[in-house]
Every structure is written in C-alpha cells, then in structure tokens.
C-alpha cells in the first residue's frame, strides 16, 4: 500500500514526531527546585522561621535557622514571592522559574523602621544590683547631644549633675567628679572620655551596655564614694563578616567583625579625630597661639571571643587610647606670666583583658579576668612638667552559686596593682572656693616619685528570696585593703526589696564606702603621707511602678530619696606643719565632711511612634572644711531636669529632642584682689565659699536621623543641633586682673554637627 502525503501533510507529521520525541525526553511537567535565603534588608541578617508564600501556586515554605529555604516542584514560568512578617514591610516580588531552578535567590525584607530609641532596663533579667541602671548601648545611640555615645548618655539619668563646659565627668548624686570610678569589663581605666569630653574611649558600637551604679551600690565594686560607671564590651557577631565606616566633623573610623572558626568571633574598631585641623583653622589668625600638634585623639578596640568547651568560655578585649594636644604661647599670656612657651599634654593607656568563664554545674559558675596595661600622662607647660608612667595589673574573680532554692551567693575579689613613676616640677595650685589663684603665685615643687600601690578587695553578696515571697534580702559586704595608707577597711552593704505585685516594688539599698587618697595626696612632697582613706555612708529608697502591666505601651515611673554622709574627706590644707624638724606645708588633711540629701524620679514613656523620658533630681550637697565652715558643694545643683522625646517617622526618618534645665553651680564671690609684686598678678580675696550661684542652665538639643536602606548596606545620616535656641548659659566667671569686676564665659552657642555612616 502506498500512502501519498502532500508536502503540507508531511510537515505537520514531522512536527508531530518532534513533539512526541520532545515529550519523551522532557518527562512529566518539568518541576523546578528553587533555593534561597531570606535576609533583612540592609543588615543582611538571616530571618529564621518565616513563612514565605509562592503565588499563584499558593505554596508555603518556612525558612530554617539561617534563613534558608528550598522549594521543590515549582511550576516553570512566572510566579511571585510574598512575605508578610510583623515589624517588616510586606514583600511581593515577581520571579520566573526556569528550567533547573536557576541560581539561589536572595530575598530582602525591609524593617518597618531602622530607627531605634534608647531604653533603660531595670531590675529584671541579668541585673542583680538594685541601685544600678543599665543602658543598652545599641538602643542609646541617637540621643540628641550625646553624639552617639552611650557613656555620654549616662548624663541624662536622674541623679547625674550636668558637668561644666567641655567636661564629661559623671557627677553622681552630689559627690565629687573624682568620686566616680570608671572601668571597662570590670577593670579600672584612667579616663573614660577623650579630650574635651567629645566621646568615650571606646567605639560606641563595641559596647554592649553601660552600667551606672549610684547611692547604695552593691559590694562587687568599691573604692569610690560617689558611684561607678562601667562599660561592658559586647560579643562580636558570628553570623557573617560585617562592619561599618563613619565620619563626622570631629572624627572618622570603622568597625569590622565576624566569625572565627565555628565557635569564635572577632571585632576590631578604630577611630581617629581631626578636630585639631578644625581648631587650627579657627585660630589661624591668633598670632599669640600656635598649634604645633593639633588636638587629636585616637582609639582602638579589639575583641575575640570563643567557646572553649560547652562549659568554658573565653573572651579577650584589648583597648587602647591616646589624646594629644600641643601648642605654643609665643608670649606669656595676659592673665598669668607663668603660662608661656610650649604646652603639651599626652594621655594614653592600653588594657589587655582576658576573661574566662566556667560553668561548674547548673547551679555554680565562675568568672575570672585579668587586666594588663600601661598608663602615660605627659604634661609640659613651659618649664613645668609632669610625667607619669605606670604599669597596671588588675584581676577580678567571682563564683556564683545557687546554694539553695532561696539563697544565691556571689563571692569574689578584685585587685589592682600599680607600679608608677612620676617626674614632676609644677607650682602648687590653690583653688580654694573653686577660685584658682594664678599659677605664678604658687610655690614651685619638684620631685621624682617611684611608687607601688596595691588595692585588694574581697566581697560577698547574697540574694535571699523565698519562692512566692514578696521580700528579697540582699545582705553583703566587702573588705578593702590599701597598701599606701596601710588600711584594711570592712564595709557592709545591704539591700532590701519588697514586691507589692508584679508591677510595683520598693527597694532599699545602703552601705558604707571607702576611697583611698589620690597619689598626689599621699606624696611626701605634694601631699601628706599621713592622710587616710575617705569614707561615706549611703542609703537610698526607690519605688518603681510599671503602669504598662504587660503591654508594650505606657509609663514606667521610678524614684525615691537618697542620703549620703561623707566623712574623713581629704581636703586641701594651707596649714604649715613641722615634720622631721622642718616646717612644711600640710597640703592635705582628713578634716573634711559632707552631706547629700536628695530625691530623684524617672518617668519613661512609650507610645509608639512616640517614646521619651523625663528625669528629675532635687538635691542639696554641702561640705564642711577643716575650719568647721559649712558651705554648698561646688557641684551642687538643686534642680536637674532632663526631658527627651523621640518620634519615628516613615521612610526611616526620626526626630528627637532633649531639653535640660539645671540650677547654676555655686560659686565663690570675689570682690577684690591683692597684688603679688613678685609674680606680677593679683591673688583673689575670696568671699564666703560657694555663697553665690551662676545663672541657671537651659538648653534644647534637636537631632534628625535618616537611613537609606539598600539590599546589602545601609547609609545613615544625622544632623545634631545643640543649643538650638542659642541660649547664653554662663559657665565660668572671668575676673578683671584686680578682681574688682567680672564677666562670664558662656557655654557653647548653637552648634550643628553632622555625620554619615555606611554599614554592611
């Protein structure tokens, strides 16, 4: 049989054959497998356990712990990804399923807001000292006026007085600035702020939290009459290599962190200032002052952390900081002929802090850390100088045990051993009543001092709490030994807490405190080798009410009174004493005392997108000198009010503001001077100490933050305007040469600053 097909029919048949063959090769419906990862946009943080939908197939998949996902049997052709997660913008993205699935997808989910706001965390998990407040650094970066520095942000807390001018000292509840101790990961450091108080000595992003210990602080820390400000570095991120770079008008720097092996991680950051170049430009027309080395600072932080075993954890922190300023007075300055020539100031330190944590059992764990380092201070002023070089070894250890169901105990020690050498030649400097006499009226003193100082403390802290009881007792104490004064001082501490209900508690904290004299105060040339440690007794009562009662929005109110009695204070003495047959100045004596009485309150509010707080402190701090005269303390500020508010706006805008009011600092009136014919200056004749005050301080700061979110990085910009109203806040009284008239030097005028930051 012959089949005769037309040409057209033959083409159709050939096509059919090809189709059948093709179908045989392709198999049934060609299902596609697609894999990928769901990440947070900008930060590239993996998003685990998130539902992802594929439309129109109505398929649902869930990301794993690394945000990864795999979808099988996806129909070839166009489809859409849909992700709807609380706190993030909805993602709808078109895609095409190709043969073979194509390359792995990366889906980026954008957060509703990348702006974060400060919070204060009280007495909950991880906090054991009822007198402390902990500021989470990552949530405290954008407070106006704090320049992104969580340590500086401590100054917004109740109980903290406003420091003068460029100073960033933390003055706690009527105590002196030198009565506050600063530490990093539990180890004392000589400074916590760079020159002029612009910023702290650590990159803010390397800080986990800042701990602020005020009246009635617990026994783990000591040697400070006022309180403590401690910085805890954070654990470097392990998920991926990441970092940022930034620059503002003061400095620039960067941070890099990431995993090391499977269990370790690292972080390294560095900053370098260029404020000196700005100042040099500002002063280029000042012929009497030449900057030879412009003011500058730099710092470096490095952290390595790893899990040695499931029970052992190791962390190594290295911190280095250097500040330098050098200039030349081409002529003696107008006010004081002794200020002339080269002026040079270098302050530097480094610390290496290894820490080992061991979990002995479910109920017992221990921590041990060391601090190795050096401190340098070099100060040249004309022919006068002060050179300090010291080696520091410190240690800290603690065993934490759950002794029984109602008793938890912390036993530990801390030690600081210092070898120091000092070469100096400087005039004695009289600042009685806070009024400095010209340096040229002082008696020139020179010495070379080599000294070893050892400070050793043991402490015991107990937490006694019966299940279901309203009461918690926190008895404890510490013993401090100071080798330079030969003293061993036991100091009891006690805390008491009553939980009225889940949202209201009352806390009582108190104890005794000691503080060794400063090195120059015990020096045989500049001080008095017979002076002993200063002492204090604190008591503080705090009530805290959480009006939120479980919800995220609402008020939290806390506050209460505090009282401190300070005694055996080391105060300057102008007496002459006979020692070893010679008449010499006494310089210092343990004849001072003081009292501080006050109350503080903090109202914290959260009504998204609004957040804020209001802190207020009223206090009175007095001192009594060696003659029995009672006067206001020079840092006494009757009223301190800080209000902070923040508003999150769409498109990652944020606006925040801070308003501060403080009573002006007490000052000593000076109405006349006596001419020192030898020094060619006038010596002030001081009136009653601190019987007058500077004008009150008002300041409004505003800050704008904006973030641009890209898939793999984020660009941030801020504009921070300090003293928006340009209010003239008197800071210092400046006297005529003969002290018969005066004027005030004001704080900074309106000061806009800005910066950018790129993070990946």
């Amino acid at each position: 049989m012959r089949i005769d097909l037309s040409c057209r029919s033959r083409i159709v048949l050939l096509g059919l054959v090809f189709w059948l063959v093709g179908m045989a090769w392709a198999g049934p419906a060609s299902a596609v497998t697609i894999s990928g990862q769901l990440l947070e946009r900008g930060t590239k943080t993996p998003l685990p356990s998130v539902n992802i939908y594929l439309l129109p197939d109505k398929r649902k998949i869930i990301t794993d712990l690394e945000g990864k996902f795999t979808v099988e049997n996806v129909s070839p052709g166009p489809f859409s990804w849909v992700v709807n997660l609380a706190g993030y913008e909805k993602l709808e993205k078109k895609d095409v399923a190709d043969q073979g699935g194509g390359k792995a997808r990366q889906l980026y989910l954008e957060k509703s807001s990348y702006q974060i706001y400060e919070t204060t965390i009280y007495g909950k998990a991880g906090k054991r000292d009822d007198s402390s407040r902990t500021l989470k650094a990552s949530e405290f970066m954008t407070v106006p006026g704090a320049r992104g520095d969580p340590v500086k942000a401590v100054q917004n807390l109740p109980g903290v007085a406003r420091p003068n001018g460029f100073s960033s000292q933390v003055i706690i509840e009527g105590s002196a600035p030198q009565d506050t101790r600063y530490w990093i990961d539990g180890h004392e450091v000589p400074i916590i702020f760079h020159f002029g108080g612009l910023t702290s000595v650590l990159t803010p992003e390397s800080i986990d939290r800042v701990e602020y210990l005020a009246a009635g602080y617990g026994p783990e820390y000591g040697r400070a009459l006022g309180g403590q400000v401690g910085v805890w570095t954070r654990t470097p991120k392990k998920d991926r290599l990441q970092g940022f770079a930034f620059m503002d008008i003061f400095n620039a720097g960067g941070l890099l962190e990431g995993p090391v092996g499977e269990k370790g991680s690292f972080l390294i950051s560095a900053r370098q200032s260029y404020i000196g170049a700005v100042l040099r430009r500002a002063l280029k027309n000042n012929s009497s002052l030449n900057f030879t080395v412009a003011p500058q600072f730099s710092d470096t932080t490095a952290i390595y952390e790893t899990e040695l075993t499931p029970r052992d954890h190791f962390k190594l922190v290295a911190v280095g900081s250097r500040d330098q300023l050098e200039f030349l007075f081409t002529q003696p300055v107008k006010q004081d002929p002794s200020i002339r020539g080269k002026f040079n100031n270098v302050t530097a330190f480094y610390r290496l802090i290894p820490e080992w944590t061991h979990k002995h059992s479910e109920s017992t764990r221990s921590r041990f850390s060391l601090g190795f380092g050096r401190d340098w201070v070099r100060f040249d002023a004309g022919s006068d100088y002060f050179y300090l070089s010291e080696y520091v070894v410190s240690s800290r250890g603690e065993v934490e045990t759950q002794v029984s169901s109602f008793w938890k105990s912390y036993a530990g020690f801390d030690n600081r051993y210092v070898w120091s050498g000092v070469d100096l030649q400087i005039p004695s400097y009289n600042t009685a009543g806070g009024i400095g006499s010209p340096l040229s009226t002082g008696t020139l003193q020179a010495a070379h001092v080599y000294k070893r100082s050892d400070q050793l403390g043991f402490y015991l802290r107990n937490v006694l709490h019966q299940p279901h009881s309203h009461w918690t007792f926190l008895p404890g104490g510490r013993v401090d030994y100071y080798n330079d004064t030969g003293e061993t001082i036991p100091v009891p501490r006690l805390g008491l807490r009553y939980d009225v209900d889940d949202y209201l508690n009352l806390r009582l904290a108190g104890g005794m405190y000691s503080q060794r004299p400063q090195d120059q105060e015990t020096d045989s040339t500049f001080g008095n080798p017979d002076v002993k440690s200063s002492r204090a007794t604190h008591i503080a009562l705090t009530a805290e009410k959480d009006f939120r009662e479980g919800s995220s929005d609402g008020f939290v109110l806390s506050g209460g009174p505090f009282y401190k009695y300070l005694y055996k204070l080391v105060v300057p003495s102008s007496n002459l004493v006979v020692r070893n047959g010679a008449t010499i100045p006494e310089n210092f004596a343990n004849t001072g005392s003081g009292r501080v009485l006050g109350g503080e309150a903090l109202l914290k509010m959260n009504f998204k997108p609004w957040t804020g707080w209001l802190s207020y402190t009223a206090s009175r701090s007095t001192r009594t000198d060696q003659n029995g005269t009672n006067y206001l303390f020079r840092y006494d500020q009757t009223n301190v009010l800080t209000a902070i508010a923040s508003l999150d706006l769409p498109r990652n805008w944020k606006i925040s503001g801070r308003f501060r009011y403080t009573t002006g600092n007490p000052i000593t009136p000076v109405t006349s001077g006596t001419f020192d014919a030898d020094a060619d200056v006038y010596v002030p004749n001081r009136g009653p100490f601190y019987s007058d005050r500077l004008g009150a301080f008002y300041q409004l700061d505003v800050r704008f933050d904006k973030k641009w979110i890209y898939d793999k990085w984020i660009l941030s910009f801020y504009l921070d305007i300090q003293n928006l109203t340009n209010h003239q806040n008197p800071e210092v009284v400046r006297f005529a040469y003969n002290y018969q008239s005066s004027t005030t030097v004001n704080d900074l005028p309106i000061l806009p600053t800005f910066g950018i930051k790129g993070e990946f």
Binding site: F166, F379, A432, T674, F675, D676, D678, A736, Y737, T743
Partner: protein
C-alpha cells in the same frame, strides 16, 4: 590627675578664652595701682634691713592724696594657698600703722613712678624657726604687706616675699635685682620722643641682669640655672602687641593719635622680674 585637668582647662581658658568683655586691661595705667615693690636686696640674711620702694601709679587720680600702711610677718604659706595677710600672725610686725603715712614722690603731671617714701623692713631670725639648714640655705619667705589708700577711699593691697637665707652657702650667692637702663626702639637708640608710627621697643638690661646661679635642691645639691627675665609693659596711652616679653624680646608699640590732656606725658613703664623676687623698672615719659 584632677589637678592636671584643672591646669589644662585653666590654660585653655586663658589661652583660648573667647568671651568678649569690657574688663580693664592689666597694663593700662589709669586707676590707682601698685606696679612693683622693689626690695634693694631681694634676698638677704636675717637681721638685714631691706628697703622697699613702691612703684605706684594714679594717673587718673588728679593728684589726690595717697597714704599707706605697711606690716610684715613670717610667710603663712601664701604659695600653698594661705591668704597673703599678717593679720592674726604671731610674728606680725606693724611697720607703718595703724595711722597711715603719706606717700611721697608721686607727682604731677603723670602721678606715676617710684615713691620716695620707702619702707625699711628688718628680716627677723625667727623666720628660721622650725626650718632645716637646707631650707635656710634655699631661703625662707618673709611676707611684706603694703596697703595704699587714696583720699576718696580707693585702695590697693600688695605684698612681696623677701627671701631670707644663709647664702652665700654651698657656692650659691644671694639673688640680686636686675636693672633696666633704657628703652630702645627698633634701631637700637633710646626711645625718648613719641613716634607717629608703630615701633618695636626693648628694655635694655643692665649688666648681669639675667644671673646664672646655683639653685639649691631639697637634698642640698646644686643645679646651675639662668634667670628668665619677664618684662611687663605698662603704658598710659597707645597700645602694645603683648603685655609681657621674655628676656630681650621686643614689643610692638602703637603710639596714641593725640597727646594726653592737662600736660600729662605718654608714659611707658616696663617692670622687669627675675622670677626669684628681683625687680626693676624704668619710666619713660614721652
């Protein structure tokens, strides 16, 4: 550390202080002033009678009567913060007082210069009580307090520490006053006539003004040092680039555009100090 922070802040405040004020200028002569208290022997042994010459100015006082009182005592520790007064001191010696004496030698038309009413001060041996031999060799301060009062009640109190020592000892000699012999202009000639343009002035020092001396240390050893002389340029009119100059440095002086009234001269009065109590002055009326 706290003291260093204070020193740094103080230095910056003085150096960089940017407040605008109308405070009176230190070197501008006008009000009642004590410009110097010059002891004929800035350092001497106990028992020596030292004569102190006050250098005074009352340019705007129109010749009002001036009186003074004077007293002395062991230094209560002024260099360490004690008030510069002899009131209450067991060693107080009233030299002139309580009735004040007239100041003489401050005359028209400039009412500026050295008073001829000098004050004799006897340096007592009691100043060495409870001092070591090394302290006595280094020198112990004896405080001299001078109170100047104008007829209308305006007053100025000044003090000086006369060094009492056992020098010469350990090879170290007692300090001597520096001296100024002339004010020179930029070409090295005496500046005696008021110029119309800015000139650069130097205080010509007498021979041996900047002494090289042996400073006795606390352990009795000695260190050779050379004095740094600081000159303060007081002026009645015009302006200067710097209030003070070091050693032989020049100061730029811009004369006034018009002469002072009432026949008063333009006065330039440099006072030189050696940092150890030695002083001298030179008055140039132009």
């Amino acid at each position: 550390m706290t003291k260093l922070i204070l020193l740094t802040a103080l230095t910056l405040l003085f150096g960089l202080g940017c407040s605008k004020d109308n405070l009176p200028t230190y070197i501008q002569l006008g009000d009642l002033r004590v410009l110097a208290l010059i002891a004929d022997q800035p350092e001497a042994k106990p028992g020596t009678v030292v004569n102190i010459t006050p250098v005074l100015s009352d340019t705007n006082g129109n010749g009002r009567a001036l009186t003074y009182t004077a007293e002395a005592c062991n230094d209560p520790g002024v260099g360490f913060g004690a008030n510069p007064t002899c009131v209450g001191s067991a060693t107080r010696v009233v030299i002139v007082g309580p009735t004040p004496a007239a100041v003489t030698g401050i005359s028209a038309p400039d009412f500026t210069g050295a008073a001829t009413s000098t004050v004799p001060v006897t340096l007592p041996a009691t100043v060495f009580t409870n001092t070591t031999a090394i302290q006595q060799a280094i020198g112990v301060a004896y405080l001299f307090v001078y109170k100047l009062t104008a007829a209308d009640g305006a007053n100025v109190t000044a003090f000086k520490r006369v060094v009492v020592s056992t020098k010469p000892i350990f090879g170290a000699a007692a300090n001597q006053n520096p001296s100024i012999t002339a004010i020179l202009n930029g070409n090295g000639t005496a500046y005696t006539t008021l110029s119309t343009d800015k000139v650069f002035l130097t205080a010509q020092q007498g021979a041996g003004s900047a002494e090289t001396f042996l400073a006795i240390q606390g352990d009795g050893s000695t260190v050779q040092q050379t004095e740094q002389l600081i000159t303060t340029w007081f002026i009645s009119d015009g302006s200067v680039d710097s209030f003070r100059t070091l050693n032989t440095e020049a100061v730029g002086y811009v004369p006034p555009t018009s002469l002072p009234p009432n026949g008063r001269h333009v006065v330039i009065l440099p006072v030189i100090r050696d940092g150890r109590g030695g002083e001298a002055f030179f008055k140039q009326a132009l």
